[in-house]
Symmetry: C2
Subunit: 478 residues, 2 copies
């Protein structure tokens, strides 16, 4: 068992300077979705690179070229760095992002979004505090605490920090594919700290994500939008057809009505079934985040299973119809319904697409309408499930127990973090999601925050994780 | 029978100067919906007033106060005018509007929208040419032709020309109510020239309009929009409920599914049934204006009856859902479906509202959803049907026969022209809709036009109509 007390003490001693580092990072409004703030994103990348260099890491800024469809806008660089190259040690690749969501005081922030503001409960408010500047700096802070405490760093650390995560990670997949056998060649496992605890009390390790297939169903008829006074009652209206087709997809209780979809889902094993009981999650947690009690299930287990391991279908809206406040007596000529299916093991993207297309076209055909219908998958993303028995997870579990005094929950998430799957597929290594912040941090909302305790204990956790990684038995060499 | 030949000849002789008058009017971009063009609307009102004064009419510009919700914007004046006050003559009140729809070359106009451009087929392109500057100037031209030909004007003419018709006729209803017993006191009947022939060959007189009740149905649940990754499958989604409710309203073939609605419709009489056969209208006319063949009925009679004398229900769209191009994985927290019902005799607005509310709430209740639902009527407008046997119509019919050599079709319209009903209700007099332009004029579209022939013969028609009005027998005094 690693002896981590001196490291923990050093982190506590450096706490104020680590918060100062976060303050500097939050002060840089590195909003990737706003063109005019692109220089700030680059400035944030440089800040990170300079801090890493000062810690003795070897750092490279990798250009990704121009932003697609924006000839005059360079993508921000990917910051890759290496700290240590001892062949006797394991090499861990960590990923994070240094860009943030948009924010402005006018949106309703209680404090200046780009000024780290700490209240008397130790909540550190500021855009990017929890998503993802706190976790990214966590790795730097862990290095510094080792240095100041005179403790040998237990692994070689490879770092990959991007600046476009909040705007679709433009260019990153190709970059990872390119570097899999180059810069990332030595990686034995991957650790990503860019998600959140399920609740506010208990840490978790995340080993699964749902995928997402996003569909458009377009129904068209008239040559142009029509006036309902002149044509109402004489023309077959695309909206009438679309509402019927959209109404054939899912029930009030989330049951997907597309034949064959539910049969693709992997059956629940006894082992998995037992997992849910102990997870720190209550229906009140759900009601609080919903802002209502309009849940489908009354109990924790069904709710978690519905979120993590079953597919779901949501209707998002309609393009081409009237959407503004007020009244407009239009018969839209062409309307496109949008819906998506969250997919889970063992649903293959292509199988799902085929079933969706078949069902939609058959429902439309039933209507006997003279309008035209097409349906297509706008984009798709595979689900991801890692093995929580891998040493990467075992080590993280022990680190959580040491730092937080409790075994972490093993969780999945309902949403997708596409880069997870990219690392797994391109590198062929185990990927662990190791969150720092909690469920109430409000990553993409106003008043985003990271609790002081989550930040400081989180720094301890990242360091401890690396020590436990080093201590895990090496089957067959590594 | 009035002797109209000298009048007709004078109109032909003055044709070029009448076109010149229209050219001047079209050159003033009197767009009522654009605040910054309000001075142009006022300039157009002044132009009209000056022309009327030059013709010897007594003219008043009546202010309507500020535009609601726009403290700094005056409504354009209503131009009221009187030409003649011979107690022995009938007095006809005519209505028109001098404002126009927006237009800009960039929308796709083949010519400058505010420059009257005449092609070799005699089509006079320009915003407002047919809606409604051509018809409004028609009355002025008729006066001038009488003066130049030395023919006594057959009636007293009261005129009411407003400048806000294309933006909801703000303030006009109150104005008409106020002046019913004052400025409009002498009116024996009303004539409005602000609609169009059913086709392109045969003139019509219009004696009926459908009304319109516009509804919102709002379904809400979560406290804020949700991410479908996190909440998909665990929350009852308002969109899912709304699509079910909207799907319960109408079939592909326009059959309204709200119980009791169809029973409110006045039965078809033998007399009415016979009317449709002779109307100059073909399915090709419909297909051309639809821009497709996606009609509900294969035949003229069913189509015209569906447009004119049966109710229809159109789904317009959804407020609060995702409506843009692309993909957004949102679960909208509150969505408002918009639909409207075109109403016909004998459907009372309140009865329809009650049936709609009952049906929507009962369909929502069937779902057993935990979300909340409300439904309300956003605005309503009564249907209007006049007696085509009134002397106002008889006179117009004779005038059409004299000018165009054919009996006019007696038509209704599927849409509403609310001012029609206001004049009928406030003045208690017969109202006639006497269109000048044809179905292909494209009133609110790009490349709006008025055919030279429709303009010139239309001026003859307006004058002839007044002569036949004067010749109609006066039952019980007038
Ligand atoms: Zn993030
Ligand atoms: Zn984020
Ligand atoms: Zn008009
Ligand atoms: Zn108009």
């Amino acid at each position: 068992t690693p002896q981590l007390k001196p490291y923990y003490k050093q982190v506590d001693d450096l706490a104020e300077s680590f918060i100062e580092r976060l303050r500097k990072a939050v002060a840089i409004p590195s909003v990737s979705s706003e063109d005019e703030r692109r220089p700030e994103v680059v400035r944030m990348g440089n800040f990170l690179a300079d801090e890493l260099k000062a810690l003795g890491a070897s750092v490279e800024l990798r250009a990704l070229g121009k932003q697609p469809h924006k000839e005059n806008l360079d993508l921000p660089p990917v910051i890759v760095a290496r700290y240590g190259s001892d062949k006797a040690k394991r090499t861990i690749l960590v990923y994070g992002h240094y860009d943030v969501q948009p924010a402005s005081k006018e949106d309703g922030w209680a404090t200046e979004p780009f000024k780290l503001t700490i209240d008397d409960k130790g909540r550190m408010f500021g855009r990017g505090s929890t998503d993802d500047k706190g976790p990214v700096l966590g790795w730097l802070n862990a290095i510094e605490a080792h240095q100041k405490a005179g403790i040998e760093f237990p692994v070689n650390l490879l770092m990959c920090f991007e600046g476009m995560e909040e705007y679709g990670s433009e260019g990153l997949d190709d970059f990872i594919a390119q570097e899999a056998d180059k810069y990332f060649k030595d990686a034995d496992a991957v650790c990503i700290s860019d998600n959140y605890w399920l609740g506010t009390e208990k840490p978790c390790l995340t080993y699964g994500l749902r995928g997402c297939n996003y569909y458009s169903v377009e129904i068209s008829g008239p040559g142009q939008d029509l006036h309902s006074g002149v044509f109402g009652g004489t023309a077959q209206e695309p909206m009438t057809d679309l509402v019927q087709v959209m109404g054939s997809l899912v029930t009030r209780d989330g049951k997907i009505l597309i034949p064959g979809i539910n049969e693709l889902v992997a059956p629940v094993t006894k082992e998995e079934e037992a997992l849910y009981t102990d997870i720190a999650f209550t229906m009140d947690n759900l009601y609080e985040s919903l802002g209502s009690q309009t849940s489908i299930y009354p109990d924790k287990k069904s709710t978690l299973m519905a979120r993590w391991r079953y597919p779901s279908l949501s209707l998002h809206g309609i393009e081409g119809a009237f959407y503004a406040p007020g009244a407009k007596t239009v018969i839209p000529a062409k309307v496109t319904g949008k819906f998506s299916i969250r997919i889970v093991p063992d649903m293959e993207i292509d199988d799902v697409n085929k079933l969706v297309e078949k069902h939609v076209m058959s429902e439309f055909k039933k209507l006997g309408s003279k309008n035209s219908c097409r349906v297509w998958c706008q984009h798709s993303g595979k689900w991801w499930v890692a093995s929580p028995n891998h040493w990467n997870f075992t080590a993280a579990g022990k680190a959580v127990e040491d730092v937080w005094g409790v075994k972490p929950d093993l969780t999945r998430e309902g949403g997708s973090i596409p880069v997870t799957l990219t690392f797994e597929e391109k590198l062929g290594k185990n990927v662990l999601l190791l969150p720092m912040g909690s469920s109430t941090d409000g990553a993409h909302s106003i008043n985003e925050k990271l609790d002081r305790k989550n930040y400081i204990e989180g720094i301890k956790l990242l360091g401890a994780y690396l020590h436990y990684v080093a201590a895990e038995p090496k089957a067959g060499g590594k």
